[in-house]
């Protein structure tokens, strides 16, 4: 048990990821306000992106650009560009999702004059 906790403490970034993910999920589940649900959703997405960044972090590495074609390449001195590209794409997806969801929330507010889930469900019946 003690070893497990020690292993966790060596990886603070993963603990941060778990806390963020669960926090966002908790907000999504418990809040009745649509905008707050969106905030929770955004935290969940961001936590996953944070996880992608955390697994690819590398100390002492440089940008993956070859300055000359003749010097032998030491792959271990460069940062891996692929996770960064994934992260960028995931951020683009996240922004698009946020745009669509805000448009939906705005349309709901114009139609029902409220953002509270209970109130809207009452008016739907």
């Amino acid at each position: 048990m003690l070893e497990l906790i020690e292993a966790w403490l060596h990886r603070p970034n993963f603990i941060a990821f778990v806390i963020l993910f669960l926090w966002g999920f908790y907000i999504m589940v418990t809040h009745h306000n649509f905008v707050k649900k969106l905030i929770g959703m955004y935290i969940v997405q961001t936590s996953v992106i944070f996880f992608l960044v955390a697994i690819s972090a590398k100390t002492g590495a440089t940008v993956p650009i070859l300055l000359s074609g003749t010097v032998p390449v030491h792959a271990e001195t460069y940062a891996n560009p692929l996770p960064h590209v994934l992260t960028l794409t995931a951020i683009v997806v996240q922004v698009a999702t946020l745009g669509v969801s805000l448009a939906l929330v705005a349309a709901i507010y114009r139609k029902y004059g409220s953002l509270d889930e209970d109130e809207i469900l009452k008016r739907l019946e």
């Binding site: 993910f21 999920f25 999504m28 649509f34 649900k37 969106l38 959703m41 969940v44 997405q45 996953v48 996880f51 992608l52 697994i55 692929l82 996770p83 994934l86 794409t89 995931a90 997806v93 698009a96 999702t97 669509v100 969801s101 448009a103 939906l104 929330v105 349309a107 709901i108 139609k111 809207i120 469900l121 739907l124």
Partner: protein, 489 residues
């Protein structure tokens, strides 16, 4: 040239989708013809692609010449090519059907509406062909985002359903992305073929097990597997009549295809987590979904909601089939997937046509069909026969192979679940036909209008396809057995 079919299939709807807003600025009435031309061109290309795959084996398409695992690769194997034919055929029919049944209040928004439909179709193409876990994520999100917008396009109740769909769908996508991250951290690659070489050695590692569970949870939300189906009935019921068939027939099924590719192509069907075979879990989740979905369908009063729950129960049946762990069940499950795509399209086409002609949304109002719409009732009878599983239709042969596979694997629990869900399906269609044939005919809510040709074409074509799938079940299942079954069985 012939190897470029996968890219062409994606680019046809995609290029049209991004050029529609420009054309639509001046000529709004061109949107529908342009969309129809692009999607009808997909059919022949998909067939040509299938012929190439039949004769020359699978196509591995490397984008910009960068070979996998460095570049992005698309794989057109037997399964993907067959599913692509189904997708392009149903997408065309859905577009034809969308003519009269699209919301009348769109006005200027008709341009983004068709753009979204085309984007959805191109994203489905991407999911079917993608040979890369991250590509699957991107296309899942493109499909889902266009799906959310299309569900909410008509406003009203649909907005709240679309919002709920968005929240759950995004949670699913985040979980899937998290699983992909785990796989990448453990193996350092995202290409499915490359992963298939590295994962078996690591299958006991916690990262792979965790990643697999997260990916499954994410895709289970997308395919609306039973306990995670909450978003589906509302979204499909309140979506515009023109949109529901497209979503119901294709989106959940394509997510299931993505899962089949990961489970059978990457991880391997014999994987065990702590001595529990993963396939058994799949099969039992599927069995529960098959029975409970049909049971919930029985309790519904709204036509579209009943069909939506029917679709949830069929996702379960497909999972039972692919989870049996033998070629017969696997091919049967995939054949049932094709059938289910056609049947869901058929049911929602019919529901849309009934709303358009008679304004009937609940099954109590269906009495207005009696004596007035013999062709529509006939089509409904064909669909019901296939949903329940009577011999000349495709639905029967799908269930037949699933049951054969279950007997072969000695999984009598699965046999019982399939039969129980069949009986429940029969029960809810009996309830439906009772309203049409036995109860007092009700006068329709609105004065009936003559069905436009496009509705007749779409409903007729899918009904004919249901019968044809039954007639041709033998060659199709034979083809799936030959090409789609994972190696090693």
């Amino acid at each position: 040239m012939r190897d470029h079919a996968p890219a062409i299939l994606f680019l046809l709807p995609f290029v049209t989708a991004i050029s529609l807003p420009m054309v639509g600025l001046k000529r709004r009435e061109w949107c529908r013809p342009m969309a129809l031309v692009a999607v009808s061109a997909m059919g022949p290309v998909a067939l040509a692609n299938l012929m190439v795959v039949l004769n020359h084996g699978e196509i591995r398409y490397a984008f910009s010449g960068w070979a996998a695992p460095i570049g992005i690769e698309w794989v057109a194997d037997g399964l993907a090519s067959v599913v692509m034919v189904v997708v392009s055929f149903l997408a065309l029919l859905a577009l034809i059907h969308a003519g009269p049944t699209s919301p009348q209040t769109l006005g200027q928004r008709i341009v983004p509406y068709y753009t979204l439909i085309l984007l959805l179709i191109s994203a489905l193409t991407g999911i079917v062909f993608a040979g890369d876990l991250f590509n699957v994520f991107v296309f899942l999100e493109v499909a889902a985002l266009s799906g959310y917008a299309l569900v909410g396009v008509a406003g009203g109740k649909a907005l709240v359903s679309a919002f709920r769909y968005l929240i759950l769908g995004t949670l699913g996508a985040s979980l899937y992305l998290l699983g992909v991250g785990y796989f990448y951290a453990a193996t350092g690659t995202l290409n499915m073929a490359d992963l298939a070489l590295r994962v078996p050695a690591l299958v006991t590692s916690k990262a792979i097990v965790g990643g697999l569970i997260f990916m499954f949870l994410g895709l289970a939300i997308k395919m609306a597997l039973m306990p995670l189906h909450g978003w589906l009935p509302d979204a499909y019921t309140h979506a515009p009549e023109a949109v529901s068939p497209l979503l119901a027939s294709l989106v959940t099924k394509v997510a299931l295809i993505a899962w089949v590719r990961i489970m059978f192509g990457v991880v391997g069907p014999d994987t065990e987590i702590e001595h529990v075979p993963v396939l058994i879990l799949l099969e039992e989740l599927g069995a529960i979904a098959a029975v409970v979905g049909a049971l919930l369908a029985l309790t519904q009063h709204e036509l579209k909601r009943m069909f939506a729950y029917g679709g949830i129960s069929h996702i379960g049946l497909i999972l039972v089939g692919v989870g049996l762990g033998n070629p017969t069940g696997f091919a049967g499950g995939l054949f049932y997937l094709i059938n289910d795509a056609v049947m869901q399209a058929a049911l929602f086409f019919l529901a849309g046509a009934v709303v358009y002609q008679y304004g009937a949304r609940t099954i109590d109002e269906l009495g207005c069909l009696r004596g007035q719409a013999p062709w529509m009732t006939g089509a409904l009878i064909v669909m019901a026969m296939s949903m329940v599983g009577f011999p000349p239709t495709g639905g029967f042969f799908g269930k037949w192979y699933i049951i054969l596979g279950a007997i072969e694997a000695h999984h009598y629990f699965a046999v019982a679940a399939v039969i129980l869900s069949t009986i429940l399906t029969l029960a809810y269609f009996v309830k439906l036909f009772e309203r049409i044939f036995r109860d007092r005919p009700v006068s329709s809510v609105m004065s009936p209008v003559e069905a436009p040709l496009s509705l007749k074409v779409s409903v007729g074509a899918v009904s004919a396809t249901i019968i044809l799938l039954g007639v041709w079940s033998d060659p199709i299942v034979g083809f799936l057995l030959k090409t789609a079954v994972p190696t090693g069985w």
